[in-house]
């Protein structure tokens, strides 16, 4: 690993994310571009998903990928080798021609690929000067800012889009969690954190006198938080603004739970049958989307973030057996996504929803006893009815001679390299431009290019990956 990054956050000091700052850029006009009647759902595989066991070579094709894989992922007790028979075919690696297969735990994602053509598998996504720290690399993916560019420091990549597109009173984003997602971080609009809609109501004492005194309590609360929101002290104003959005949304959002349960009982049941956290989290997203689709007043979220922890598989990872941890995680995510997709299809919204799946890094080719240490670049997924299904980007070069000193595959932007990497910012930029409706110039301001050797740095952004149907 070369941690010799030119400072993670220049302008501020190194370390954690800086305090959210209002994004302002002369090239970005307000309300010029937006997502329209579409939705974007971002799903984080937290912990570092083993990309090499997520999309693996079934054969060598015109190179030696399968040999390299077999050389480091063993069979037998604790071995992580996925056999060609276990892998679910998705197509060929553009660079090497090797046939590629998905981890068997992802069979539901494979169904969406085969039956609907609704999955883009984007291989080898990473960035220059990679970090093996969960925290640093997660921040880099959240901010879209690997080299500490001060122009975009401290804000989430999608947060910058929200700040540039929505006004101060808008509530365009929801995190399904009890804390905010770094991806949506900014301070120009409000983002909600909701774990479960049915628990999101505002609490009033049920003492019966004076009608519970609710109107007076509400007015006083609103006055206090409005005043705090206008205060110059940064934490007080943050709390104030959050409280105002919370009060309003605590009245608008909780009814979405009953609305969905009443009107979509069959779909509701389908999530229950998956019975895992990611399914339950995605169901909360579905309830909100359903509310927006039904025109519920005060519900206008278009951007969602959720995560599945547990991908830090230093141990107990397992190969293709259904009891392995990686299998269980993948099955949870894929089964949940399939139910979600079918729900959206039934709502008539599948063509207007895009799910973007990311992880902070992949894992080491050479395994340890039954797990893997931190690695470099790995796959992303886009899922949706308007997603142009298939394989994009090249498999990382895992041939021994190509690995770096730590045994990780190397990020490359060399045009003629058959294993050329995909910079994750090209994926973000393509989504911002072709899904969120921003112009090339606006996206450039959101995701400024690196300087440096064009073979090793991201100097020629491409926000026109053909990830969406025309």
């Amino acid at each position: 690993m070369r941690i010799s990054r030119r400072r993670f956050l220049q302008g501020a000091t190194a370390g954690a994310l800086s305090v959210p700052t209002l994004f302002s850029n002369p090239f970005v006009g307000r309300a010029l571009a937006n997502i329209g009647n579409r939705y974007l759902v971002v799903l984080f595989l937290d912990g570092g998903n083993d990309g090499l066991n997520t999309i693996a070579p079934i054969d060598n094709g015109g190179a030696t990928l399968r040999d390299a894989y077999d050389g480091h992922r063993g069979t037998g007790g604790g071995g992580l080798n996925l056999t060609p028979a276990q892998l679910l075919s998705i197509g060929n690696d553009p660079g090497s021609g090797a046939s590629l297969g998905l981890h068997p735990g992802l069979h539901s994602l494979h169904d969406l690929h085969v039956d609907k053509g609704a999955v883009a598998f984007i291989q080898g996504c990473g960035y220059p000067e990679y970090s093996l720290s969960h925290e640093v690399s997660s921040s880099i993916w959240q901010t879209g800012n690997p080299l500490g560019n001060p122009a975009i420091a401290g804000t989430g990549w999608l947060g910058r889009h929200l700040a540039a597109t929505y006004g101060a009173s808008a509530i365009p984003g929801v995190t399904i969690d009890n804390s905010f997602a770094g991806v949506l971080r900014q301070s120009a609009t409000s983002v909600l954190a909701i774990e479960r809609l049915e628990d999101f109501g505002f609490p009033y004492d049920d003492f019966y006198a004076a009608g519970g005194d609710i109107a007076a309590k509400r007015a006083a609360f609103d006055d206090l938080y409005q005043a705090a929101g206008a205060n110059a002290q940064s934490q007080l104003s943050f709390i104030g603004t959050s409280g105002v959005a919370t009060l309003l949304s605590s009245e608008a959002y909780p009814p979405l739970h009953a609305l969905y349960e009443t009107e979509r009982a069959a779909q509701n049941q389908a999530y229950d049958s998956v019975g895992r956290n990611t399914a339950e989290d995605l169901r909360e997203v579905a309830k909100i989307i359903y509310g927006v689709e039904q025109g519920v007043t005060g519900v206008e979220a278009r951007f969602f973030h959720l995560s599945n922890g547990g991908y830090d598989t230093h141990s107990d990872q397992g190969a293709g057996q259904t009891t392995g941890r990686h299998y269980e995680l993948h099955a949870e995510v894929a089964d949940s996504l399939k139910v979600f997709y079918e729900d959206l299809e039934d709502m008539g919204a599948a063509d207007r929803v895009c799910v973007l799946v990311w992880s902070e890094f992949s894992r080491r080719l050479t395994q340890n006893s039954n797990g893997t240490d931190h690695g470099s670049h790995g796959p992303m997924f886009l899922i949706g009815g308007q997603v142009n299904g298939g394989v994009f980007g090249n498999h990382p070069n895992i041939n021994d001679a190509a690995l770096d000193g730590e045994g990780n595959s190397v990020y490359s932007q060399a045009a003629l390299d058959p294993f050329r990497s995909t910079d994750f910012r090209d994926v973000y930029g393509t989504v911002l431009k072709h899904w969120c409706g921003m112009t090339q110039m606006q996206v450039q301001a959101m995701l400024p290019a690196d300087a440096g050797n064009p073979n090793e740095y991201w100097t020629a952004p491409n926000f026109d990956l053909s990830l969406f149907l025309p």
Binding site: S179, A193, D205, D213, K217, Y225, L236, D373
Partner: protein, 496 residues
């Protein structure tokens, strides 16, 4: 510039108690004032607080909730609130989660260790954590064997427990190669499962003689002020000694300013914890304070936490958040941690929790684990090895609602919440009632005139009822209970 001799007002002593403990209950205040002979100074107050006995406390039980609630009970009536605040700081610093460890008794052992070292020797604490059974499970030390070294502990030891990824100038403190070397030094450790006692399995340890091609274990060849040769981990003997030697070497690491890296990072984190978030991203002014408290305490050579904490508690930086309302852009404040919000509210309102769940007997009748889960901080269960995210990261619509629910549940718990014990029911002037309630809850000086008026308008229904008869059952249960909830739900009460 104040110093240890600077006298403190009673309000400032309250501030000290709030920041070093959980709220400033009247009995603790009078006890502290008595201990300093009625003439409190920054130094004398700090000395009293830092004289707590270095005794352990073991939150254990045969299942998670019992252990959690044993600690909750202790936090409400601690031997030393400062010792608890420090134990929680180190619990965040060496974040270990019971569900990953899979054995709550081992967690109890770790928390006990954090109590024992809370104001002791930090270097010895890190050495103890090396061999702590819960940590060995958390970060895979027990799965780190010579044939397949596991880097998990070595990485977090450098990144989180000691050096940090970058120094204060933004330069990297170590390289991946250093982690690999440290992982090798830590191979072979395990513990006896019943008592958690650590031991080295020689046959799983990476002795140089067995792997001559790997050569010496050397770290910091390119970073850390040791020159191109780095430092040889095996210099003090191979095997058992190596993991202590690793710590000795790390604690000599200097950053690109030539300062001790571990001392600066820990001082910065303690300053951030006890003062404000500015120390999370220190600029030149904050860096000067970090270096000052190290110089005054010799922490970078003694590693003794007591003098370092004393230097922090007498520093002007510690009093920056003592400012009163109204706040301006330059006012420093810090967001109360959920555990602080929870424990201090229980202490200040005097309510008793019920049953083994430690329930608040009103509203949703949630137990302590339920409330704190919703607020975003379950003790013994930090979200990851990074611990919790501080300051405004504590605040979201979900966690705010959790705090609001807790406040509502308290005032709705009419069997245990008795405001007649807290305020004079003969008070009829709404402004006076607001003063009484905000004083009980410790924010009387943090309320602006405009906020005061909002509370008054609430009590009087915008002036319709200019006097309030708190002896009237319905008025008391509506408006006085309502005011308590509103103050606990107010923006100012989320800060300290």
């Amino acid at each position: 510039m104040g110093n240890e001799l600077t006298p403190l007002t009673t309000d400032e002593v309250r501030h000290v108690l709030r920041r070093t403990g959980f709220g400033a209950p009247p009995n603790e205040l009078s006890k502290l004032l008595g201990a300093v002979g009625g003439n409190p100074t920054r130094g004398s107050v700090a000395d009293v607080l830092l004289s707590f006995q270095e005794k352990g406390f073991r939150p254990n039980g045969n299942e998670f909730e019992k252990a959690h609630n044993k600690w909750i009970n202790y936090l409400i009536k601690p031997k030393s609130a400062l010792q608890e605040k420090l134990a929680i700081f180190f619990h965040d610093h060496f974040a270990t989660s019971s569900s990953v460890v899979g054995n709550v008794r081992l967690m109890g052992g770790q928390i006990n260790t954090l109590h024992l070292y809370a104001r002791g020797n930090f270097k010895n604490l890190v050495k103890a954590i090396n061999k702590d059974a819960a940590m060995m499970e958390m970060l895979d030390t027990v799965r780190n064997v010579k044939a397949v070294p596991n880097e998990n502990y070595g990485r977090e030891l450098l990144e989180l427990f000691t050096l940090g990824v970058y120094d204060l100038a933004g330069n990297p403190n170590y390289l991946q190669e250093d982690i690999v070397q440290i992982a090798r030094a830590f191979t072979g450790w395990d513990y006896f499962s019943n008592k958690g006692i650590p031991y080295l399995r020689d046959y799983e340890h990476d002795f140089m003689v067995e792997f001559p091609e790997r050569g010496d274990k050397v770290i910091f060849q390119s970073t850390g002020g040791f020159g191109s040769g780095g430092m040889d981990i095996t210099a003090d003997g191979e095997g058992e000694n190596e993991i202590d030697t690793v710590i000795d070497i790390i604690f000599e690491h200097t950053d690109t300013d030539g300062k001790n890296t571990v001392a600066r990072r820990l001082a910065a984190r303690l300053l951030e914890y006890f003062c404000h978030g500015g120390f999370g991203e220190p600029g030149p002014a904050e860096i000067a304070v970090i270096d000052q408290v190290i110089d005054e305490s010799n922490f970078d050579t003694s590693w003794n936490l007591t003098p370092l904490l004393r230097a922090i508690f007498v520093n002007d930086a510690f009093f920056e958040t003592a400012g009163v309302a109204p706040y301006s852009a330059s006012t420093k404040k810090s967001v109360k941690w959920p555990i602080d919000y929870f424990i201090s509210t229980i202490r200040l309102t005097g309510i008793r929790l019920q049953k083994s769940e430690r329930r608040v007997a009103g509203g949703n009748y949630l137990g302590a684990v339920g409330h704190l889960t919703n607020m975003g901080q379950i003790l013994l269960e930090p979200p990851s090895v990074f611990g919790w995210n501080w300051e405004t990261a504590w605040i979201s619509s979900a966690t705010l609602l959790a705090r609001f629910n807790f406040a509502r549940d308290i005032v709705a718990a009419r069997s245990v919440f008795n405001p007649a014990k807290l305020v004079d029911l003969d008070a009829t002037d709404p402004g006076e009632i607001v003063d009484l309630v905000t004083d009980v809850l410790g924010i009387v000086d943090q309320v602006t005139p405009a906020e005061h008026q909002i509370f008054v308008d609430y009590l009087t229904d915008d002036g319709a009822n200019p006097t309030i008869d708190l002896r009237d059952y319905e008025i008391r249960n509506t408006k006085l209970h309502g005011l308590f909830a509103l103050v606990m739900q107010s923006p100012a009460y989320q800060l300290h």
